[in-house]
């Protein structure tokens, strides 16, 4: 069996589950260590490098990192990565003097961004310091896109939003508020821009085509309703509210309704809990606020009498699996739920009525633009898409990742270089050895359980629509949560030539990661059968060494539940093992990761 190729960053990167799962590849373990050292500003800036909005994301991120977190495989709960990020943002102090500050020497290139949401702001963040002139066209009266219009202030305070958007605008972005782009042709022909980035999001809420839909003004489309609340146009709602759909927007709708006067708020779900789209923690927060979640009810019709909404009829469903393994529903009966307002939160989609179809920007059958997955360029050279606008609704952290990638493309485009000649990722692996058994990270395992976020009590919450619900971790909680991180970026790096096969590492490993086996050839199954502990997650990599000097056997490590305690290294008499810190070097526009 050939030794695992560890010469490229991908192998090590994958072992850092959180960083690998993060679309922007934020260096999570490193910033958690910095928080642990009280270096909040450094932690914040490290975050900002990749995710641009640590304060915002520390409250609202979809947290792809947390389900991936190795801690969740070792005990039950992952590290509260997201909330630690918020700690760094809250306590960082003044960092403005550590951000790129203009005026920058202009390079004469002009970029237009359609929409001022996270994707466009990221593009501006990356290109402004390089001397680009970036103009952001926003149809609303404030920047931020969905972060402002759709995420309620009790989850994301306006001050945080203004601060982090301000860092980018202060680099010299030209922000045009209340300026919707109504014609792409005009923008391209008359704007005089060298490139256009479309970051206009997925602004259209899906409608429910059911009888009675348009007979009452009390039926609302969720994201429009949230926007109207955010900008102060809607300030009240009826006592009985039905929210249709069970995604994260539905959670924001029902919780907002509770604050605007809704007493009996129900979320109506077609299916049962395992199929809900909302993040578990958002469901939990909604239920804590007294929202009832009704499962297996499909909307049938709106009941409107004399122009007044009375409620809705629902089909009560029973689900089963058919012979082909598909989920099938059967209607048991039809039931009536009274309501004063109904809010539809059943999804959202992109809308491009302002892009003419004859200007070289191709759209597919479903009305989505044809966009290259890597370069983000559309079929028209110099026009790029990112965020929800590119491939439909994702989330903020994906929008940021798209913004970075698109900025690289725009920079290459403006310099006349091929878009596919993208700067590669680099890596650094440095030993953490500080003394005989001392490491530059805390290698001992801390058995603390995940810290629970403290919430403002319900009464105060409902009295103030804009009062942030989550209090944030205090110092003691932060210290405990930081210690839960397993430092997966500090890797067990093996040097086969030094190994004397004394078994010390295998014997000491508390989680049975290591095995020395006779070379099984190409037979992976034979290899797996001989591992010290069963391979629970085949998607987790195996680290296979070259032949060991004395017996030509192979050292195999199952990375799955390694807690990075470093004991293998401490018990190794020949330093065949070393604990080395991995840094993923990511390229950004105008800043290659490593010399090429």
């Amino acid at each position: 069996m050939l030794p695992t190729d560890v010469s490229r960053p991908d192998y090590w990167h994958r072992v850092v589950d959180c960083q690998w799962a993060c679309p922007a590849h934020t260096n999570v373990p490193e910033y958690i260590r910095l928080i642990g050292q009280g270096r909040y500003a450094d932690a914040y800036l490290l975050n900002r490098e990749s995710n641009v909005f640590p304060g915002i994301l520390g409250r609202t991120c979809d947290r792809p990192c947390e389900p991936a977190c190795r801690r969740g495989r070792v005990e039950e709960q992952p590290v509260a990565i997201c909330r630690l990020k918020r700690v760094a943002a809250d306590l960082k102090g003044e960092i403005r003097d550590r951000l790129p500050r203009g005026p920058f020497r202009k390079n004469g290139k002009r970029i237009a961004c359609v929409g001022a949401g996270p994707a466009s702001l990221t593009v501006a963040n990356d290109l402004l310091p390089l001397g680009y002139e970036v103009t952001l066209f926003e149809k609303l009266s404030a920047p931020g896109g969905l972060m402002r219009s759709n995420i309620p202030a009790f989850r994301l305070p306006e001050s945080v939003l203004d601060e982090e958007i301000g860092y980018i605008l202060d680099m010299g972005a030209d922000l045009r508020l209340s300026t919707p782009i109504t014609s792409m042709r005009r923008l391209l022909e008359d704007g005089g821009f060298d490139a256009v980035f479309v970051g206009s999001g997925a602004p259209r809420g899906k409608d429910l085509d059911a009888p009675g839909r348009h007979d009452s003004p009390n039926v609302h489309v969720g994201i429009e309703w949230l926007e109207s609340v955010a900008f102060g146009h809607t300030t009240s709602v009826g006592e009985r509210v039905l929210v249709i759909g069970v995604g994260n927007t539905a959670m924001d709708c029902c919780r907002t309704a509770r604050r605007l006067g809704g007493r009996d708020v129900k979320v109506m779900a077609r299916r049962d809990r395992p199929y809900f789209k909302a993040s578990p923690w958002e469901l939990e927060d909604a239920e804590e606020e007294g929202v009832e979640i009704v499962v297996n009810h499909a909307p049938r019709e709106f009941v409107v009498r004399d122009g007044r909404l009375q409620g809705m009829l629902f089909d009560r469903l029973e689900w089963s699996v058919d012979a082909q393994g598909r989920q099938r529903s059967r209607t048991i009966d039809t039931v009536f739920f009274p309501a004063d307002d109904v809010i539809l939160a059943i999804g959202q989609e992109t809308a491009f009525p302002w892009i003419e179809r004859d200007i070289g920007i191709a759209f597919d059958a479903s009305g989505q633009p044809v966009v290259d997955r890597v370069t983000h360029q559309s079929s028209r050279e110099g026009v790029f898409f990112g965020g929800d606008a590119a491939w439909g609704p994702l989330n903020i952290i994906w929008a940021v990742a798209h913004g970075h990638a698109a900025a690289i493309s725009i920079d290459l485009h403006c310099r006349g270089e091929p878009l596919d000649r993208r700067p590669p990722q680099g890596m650094r692996l440095v030993s953490t050895k500080m003394g005989l058994h001392e490491w530059s990270y805390a290698n001992d395992y801390d058995a603390s359980r995940r810290q629970k976020m403290v919430h403002v009590d319900l009464e105060r919450r409902f009295g103030d629509l804009r009062l942030e619900v989550e209090v944030g971790f205090d110092a003691a909680q932060t210290a405990r949560e930081v210690a839960r991180c397993l430092n997966c970026d500090v890797h067990t790096v093996f040097r086969a030539s030094a190994c004397i096969e004394c078994d010390a590492c295998i014997d000491i490993c508390p989680v049975q990661c290591l095995t020395i086996v006779r070379d099984p050839g190409d037979d992976l199954q034979a290899l797996e059968a001989r591992l010290s502990a069963p391979r629970a997650h085949p998607d987790q990599p195996l680290y296979v060494s070259g032949p060991l000097p004395q017996t030509a056997r192979l050292m195999v490590k199952d990375e799955d539940v390694c807690i990075h305690c470093g004991l293998c290294t401490e018990r190794c008499p020949t330093s065949a093992w070393d604990m080395q810190k991995f840094d993923l070097l990511q390229p950004y526009a105008g800043r290659p990761a490593c010399p090429t």
């Binding site: 004397i500 004394c502 010390a504 508390p510 629970a536 004395q550 305690c565 018990r571 008499p573």
Partner: protein, 351 residues
């Protein structure tokens, strides 16, 4: 020696034995031996064997003398009884413990200094008596705890770390054990758990003294070029002649091997050991030929390994002495101490 304790966290898929215990439940405290010490590997093999046999830790008495090897009982079976005796006196303590409580599973750990120098007489008599115990000799051919002097098992010509050759002939513990009537004699290597673990499993089920000489390199003082007890040397010169598979009582024996190469030997308590010959001219049931074989190969510089000799027919010390089945601690006081009248009667008998 590491500064942190081995974290209590364990692999979620770790196998549980009949007692519901995992491997981790058979550990002791953190080793303070040098990193890479063969003794730690033997410790791990003992943990594996006890886990596989579903031995309840509190039924075991761990016994040792003085030396690096004798420190190791602290590092396994934290729930077992233990006695760290005076230098070389482990066999005496073991004999006493065994006589007092036949139900205790005696697990003695000693080294080449403890057993072949100061305690040679002790060891020899325990073997002679066929005390029911597992006797592990962690053999590194050096006095590690006193900084690397030659021991009684250092081979002729084997070099110290400074380069001086040993000029005094060694005692070979396997030949010694065979010559004084041992009923279970094995030699293995700390770096080969595939061989060592089944040998230990069989040893723990042997009705008599199971003597296991384990070559266990001292990484600090005896793992250099010129040493005959280094990892590299043992790997190069080791000659496995018998492979032992331990077969637990419940398991049927399925694999039929060629007659003449495999022997099934029943052990105490229903378990069996299947001995497969690796070397054709070797017979682990023939003491005389085994002795000659080991000696011939020793002369050629080869280290013969495996379960080298097994004889379940000889009675153990308990049978010979007619010791009482019930542990003394459980006997009623009147039986244990029948009083002056009973003593007088016994004395009278021999007048």
């Amino acid at each position: 020696m590491t500064y942190i304790k081995k974290p209590a966290v364990r692999h979620p898929g770790l196998e549980k034995n009949a007692l519901g215990l995992t491997l981790r439940d058979y550990e002791g405290s953190m080793s303070t031996l040098c990193a890479g010490c063969g003794h730690d590997s033997i410790t791990a093999a003992i943990i594996r064997a006890c886990h596989a046999l579903s031995i309840a830790p509190h039924t075991v008495a761990k016994l040792s003398g003085i030396g690096c090897s004798s420190k190791t009982p602290t590092y396994f079976l934290g729930g077992a009884h233990g006695f760290n005796s005076a230098h070389g006196r482990m066999p005496a303590i073991a004999t006493g413990a065994g006589a007092a409580n036949r139900r205790l599973l005696l697990l003695g750990v000693s080294g080449d200094g403890d057993s072949l120098s100061i305690g040679l007489g002790q060891m020899a008599h325990a073997i002679r008596r066929n005390l029911r115990m597992t006797y592990i000799l962690e053999n590194n051919g050096v006095y590690g705890l006193t900084k690397g002097q030659f021991s009684a098992s250092t081979d002729l010509g084997s070099k110290s770390r400074r380069g001086d050759p040993n000029v005094v002939p060694p005692i070979d513990p396997v030949l010694l054990a065979l010559s004084i009537g041992a009923t279970f004699v094995a030699r293995s290597f700390s770096g080969d758990k595939d061989q060592l673990v089944p040998i230990l499993e069989a040893a723990l089920c042997h009705d008599g003294l199971a003597f296991v000489d384990v070559i266990s390199p001292c990484v600090t003082f005896n793992d250099h070029e010129g040493s005959t007890k280094s990892y590299a040397y043992v790997r190069k010169h080791g000659l496995p002649v018998v492979h032992a598979d331990f077969v637990p009582p419940a398991d049927p024996i399925t694999l039929e091997q060629e007659p003449g190469t495999t022997q099934i030997v029943p052990l105490h308590g229903g378990a069996r050991v299947r001995l497969t010959k690796v070397a054709q001219d070797y017979d682990p049931r023939d003491r005389v030929r085994a002795f000659a074989f080991v000696q011939e190969h020793l002369a050629r510089g080869e280290i013969v390994t495996g379960l080298l000799f097994l004889d379940e027919s000889r009675p153990s010390m308990h049978e010979v002495m007619g010791t009482v089945e019930t542990p003394l601690v459980e006997l009623p006081y009147e039986s244990l101490c029948p009083g002056a009248a009973a003593l007088d009667a016994i004395t009278e008998q021999w007048r």
